[in-house]
């Protein structure tokens, strides 16, 4: 039992989410007669949702800090059309356009961050205004420059490109293969480090069987995914955009778990007054999370337009809802202070697989939205129910939650003085 507990150090909620994700994949695969688990479809899931996944990593920080950002879709739309128009009309090279887009994201983020952090307007109001302002900006530019602005061809690889094929014939796309091997190497290295740390802290490493199971299990998963993504039509691979998401995920995992600023975000969200009296710069922290969100929205914009290849009037519509839903499905708390980058990514993948599976089944957009809404309620209700009952989720009874999960709530069922 303890061994099983040690196996899943990511917390009961994430374990539950991964199971849910797998269940969805399996169910949809059955209902679509095997259309889901194919290399092409797997790649499409990444292609179609990379922009959402990138934004969830910013949104989770915003929600942990106790705010929300409703403007991300509109900001992304505005930045996208700015980049497209700038590269087309001003003759600047595509990479300058990308930089311009990022700069716009930073500017917008600073604007929203100013109102939220230094003036004290709630994030909800500020970003609601932002939603209107930047949707309007998008519309304005579109009216001036054309509703469908073509994106320079040199950029298309970002959003729709595949990794190069090279080297000996292995039956798989070799770039994907390398990626997979690197992934497995990282897992093994990570496991070895965990064991070394356990020796230092507790005096003994966990049972070898646990390590082998954990590292082995993850490695097998990665090996399978490597095969899935790499064995598509020749010329296809794990998408470039997916690599970008992974890199950004690594950066944000590091930022949120290993840096002081990351810790401060959790502190501000967990108990603002205590954080202030512990020396946390509340204003700076709030400013940074809002700045960061718009920055990632601009990155998402670039990923999106370089896939869509032209801008359009419906760009960005409803993105914030998908992003916010992903973050809450991934385990964040409405009251702030709780949430993780990896959890939000899993939540994002749940939404992505849902979108994809329902689409393959031929379910219309209307019904899809209804189903997604109900999934969101179900996921969070389950979580809230378990918290109110004062115990971790049912799966969590078997597995101890670790840091970043709510350590506990004082509940009516727990004994007090």
């Amino acid at each position: 039992m303890t061994a099983l507990k040690e196996l899943f150090s990511g917390g009961a909620r994430k374990f539950g989410m991964v199971i849910a994700l797998l269940a969805l994949v399996i169910i949809f695969n059955l209902t679509t007669n095997g259309l889901v688990v194919t290399p092409t479809n797997a790649q499409n899931i990444i292609f179609g949702n990379a922009h959402i996944l990138v934004m969830t990593m910013g949104m989770v920080m915003v929600i942990i800090a106790g705010h929300i950002d409703l403007s991300v879709g509109s900001v992304a739309a505005a930045v996208g059309v700015i980049v497209a128009v700038a590269t087309r009309d001003w003759g600047i090279p595509w990479w300058a356009g990308v930089l311009l887009g990022v700069a716009c994201g930073l500017l917008i983020g600073a604007w929203q961050g100013f109102w939220v952090a230094y003036v004290g307007i709630p994030g909800f109001i500020t970003t609601l205004a932002g939603m209107m302002i930047f949707r309007g900006l998008h519309l304005y530019i579109s009216v001036q420059s054309g509703t469908n602005v073509r994106v320079p061809e040199e950029m298309w690889f970002i959003g729709s490109g595949h990794l190069p094929e090279w080297g000996p014939d292995t039956g798989l796309n070799n770039s994907t293969l390398v990626l997979g091997l690197v992934g497995i190497a990282l897992i093994v290295w990570g496991e070895l480090r965990k064991r070394a740390a356990a020796v230092r802290l507790d005096g003994a490493a966990p049972a070898l069987s646990v390590s082998i199971l954990r590292a082995g299990g993850l490695s097998i998963a990665i090996a399978y995914l490597t095969w899935l993504f790499g064995s598509g039509r020749p010329g296809t691979s794990f998408p470039v955009t997916g690599v970008i998401v992974l890199v950004i995920a690594a950066v944000y995992w590091f930022l949120s778990t290993k840096t002081i600023t990351g810790r401060h975000v959790y502190a501000v969200g967990g108990n603002r007054a205590a954080a202030a009296l512990s020396g946390v710069n509340i204003k700076r922290t709030n400013f940074l999370v809002m700045l960061n969100m718009s920055l990632l929205a601009s990155v998402a914009a670039i990923l999106f337009i370089s896939r869509a290849r032209t801008t359009g009037p419906a760009d960005g519509t409803g993105w914030e809802l998908d992003v916010i839903a992903a973050v809450f499905i991934g385990g964040a708390a409405v009251s702030g202070g709780i949430g993780t980058v990896t959890g939000s990514l899993i939540g994002g993948l749940v939404m992505a697989v849902l979108n994809n599976g329902l689409q393959l089944m031929g379910v219309g957009a209307a019904q899809t939205n209804m189903i997604k809404g109900m999934v969101l309620i179900a996921a969070v209700a389950f979580d809230v129910y378990n918290k109110v009952q004062g115990r971790p989720s049912i799966i969590g009874r078997v597995i101890d939650g670790v840091r970043r999960r709510p350590a506990s709530e004082t509940s009516a069922t727990a004994p007090t003085a």
């Binding site: 810790r263 959790y266 709780i338 709510p406 350590a407």
Partner: protein, 515 residues
């Protein structure tokens, strides 16, 4: 006068939670018209017992019987017990700050008129109730504008509005200063003479002995002893022994002061109220602390002790107008909390849950949270260092928890306070300011915390203790400053200080005109 039959008999109450027996065959008898106190360490089961009685833990979730007014009762909810005449006032007052006194009194019990709530009647009745508790405020005043003592009286007024026969008070004077405590206890005596029966849960042994007719001590979920105070022979030592299970030599661990030179001085410190311009919360205060010294700050609630401390701690309260701080002889400016921490000053806030702890964190994260740079050797926070810091704190402060990954919300009050203390000792401060360090904590844990403060002083650091418990200050401090209405009115050395002298200085008696 009093009926011969007891008003309440709890017979063989047993309540278990998964893995722990919170109450084990507890029996309690409360006579009609008496004030019955219940004492016990944190986690002993006092609140659990009262929750069983008041219906928070409904019939069916416990074993045993409750006999009220001669009949076996089966309460399914708080409403049931209230209808029977049992009202419980919790330690954390259940008042809505933004709503008025009248609205709070009748919350859940609204006075209905023809078409809705009859506010006229509500305010009239509220006024009557306030007179019964001797509280002279307008019934329209929002609760947030009242002091804690007054809020407590509103809660009692609310209980009276429900025609209470048996009033349960959980730590009623924990958040009150001496003055308000005395008023409250007088009120309870008055209500007793009018036929009200009270059960009081309290750690304040002095008060309990002054006001109770009987005392039941609970320890580890069992009723250890019931003492008849009116019969005599009950003193604080006897109660403590029953609570703790072992004789406590004294409430304060022995400490030989080794006091050195002055190393921290504050001169003419003047701070304005943050919202009310023109009103000063610190009026030219000057004081100093020596190495190895424990200095106390005494004052009635609202006198300005916390305001003084917080304004010094990185100007985290009020508008700084003038004054200097000198540390090791050099003048320093503490413009922000990080400044203060960097200069070796730590401040342990008075409300550990609201202002001190992030209840979502575990012990190790809490311990390092005031000085994260210490656990960040390179680019990243080092989990090993965090764990080690947590372990060190857990061991040296004897925090009762399975491991340092336990959430602080799961700890008892005393252990939470220790975790908070550990957090502020982690940056290795030169000067530690603790604000109400033992509020809401049982005797055993208090002793341990006093020991920790003594150790700090013995190590040559300076300790400032702000407390509303005069015996605590008298037992702990080498010198005590008194504050009244924002000004320091006096300072007494260990030998010359006693409760009376302190109280006079604290209430401004015999002090020359305080500006």
């Amino acid at each position: 006068m009093a009926d011969s039959a007891p008003i309440l008999e709890m017979r063989s109450i047993t309540k278990t939670f998964p893995g722990v027996r919170a109450l084990d065959d507890v029996s309690l008898t409360v006579e009609r018209g008496e004030i019955h106190a219940i004492c016990g360490e944190n986690g002993a089961g006092k609140s659990t017992l009262m929750k069983v009685l008041s219906g928070v833990y409904p019939h069916g979730t416990y074993e045993g019987d409750i006999v009220y007014d001669g009949e076996i009762v089966r309460f399914g909810s708080i409403r049931d017990s209230e209808q029977a005449g049992i009202v419980i006032i919790h330690q954390e007052l259940a008042l809505i700050p933004e709503l008025s006194v009248a609205e709070n009194i009748f919350l859940g019990n609204e006075q209905k008129g023809g078409l809705g709530i009859d506010w006229q009647i509500a305010h009239e009745k509220a006024k009557e109730l306030l007179e019964r508790v001797d509280l002279k405020v307008d019934t329209k005043t929002p609760i947030k504008n009242l002091g804690v003592g007054q809020q407590q009286l509103v809660e009692i007024a609310r209980a009276l509005s429900k025609d209470v026969e048996l009033l349960i008070l959980d730590e009623p004077t924990a958040a009150l200063n001496e003055h308000d405590s005395r008023l409250l206890l007088d009120l309870l005596r008055d209500l007793r003479s009018k036929g009200l029966t009270c059960i009081i849960i309290s750690h304040k042994l002095g008060e309990i002995m002054a006001i109770s007719d009987s005392i039941t001590v609970i320890r580890d979920g069992r009723a250890i002893e019931t003492m008849d105070v009116t019969a005599g022979g009950v003193d604080e030592d006897r109660i403590i022994r029953a609570m703790v299970g072992r004789p406590l030599e004294s409430r304060f661990p022995p400490h030989t002061p080794a006091i050195g030179d002055v190393f921290f001085e504050v001169e003419d410190w003047t701070v304005e109220h943050p919202q009310l311009p023109g009103r000063l919360v610190a009026k030219g205060s000057s004081f100093h602390v020596r190495r190895g010294e424990i200095v106390g700050f005494a004052g009635i609630m609202g006198a300005g002790r916390t305001e003084l401390a917080r304004s010094l701690f990185g100007r985290s309260y009020g508008r700084y107008l003038s004054g200097t701080i000198r540390m090791h002889g050099k003048e320093i400016e503490l413009r922000s909390v990080p400044d203060a921490i960097a200069h070796g000053i730590s401040y342990v806030t008075e409300d550990r849950k609201a202002l001190g702890l992030n209840l979502l964190d575990d012990i190790q994260t809490t311990v390092v949270s005031a000085d994260l740079k210490k656990v960040k050797p390179g680019m990243a926070l080092d989990d090993t260092l965090i764990h080690q810091a947590g372990e060190k704190a857990r061991r040296s402060m004897r925090i009762k928890a399975k491991s340092v990954s336990v959430g602080v919300a799961k700890l008892s009050g005393g252990n939470q306070q220790k975790a908070l203390l550990g957090k502020w000792l982690f940056p290795e401060p030169e000067l530690l300011i603790v604000d109400e360090p033992t509020r809401g904590i049982d005797v055993g844990a208090k002793y341990e915390i006093y020991g920790l403060l003594n150790d700090l002083a013995s190590a040559g650091k300076g300790v400032v203790v702000i407390s509303s418990e005069l015996p605590e200050l008298l037992g702990l401090c080498d010198r005590i400053y008194t504050i009244f209405e924002g000004a320091i009115t006096g300072v007494l050395e260990r030998g010359e200080a006693d409760q009376e002298r302190l109280m006079r200085l604290m209430t401004g008696v015999g002090v020359d005109a305080v500006v």
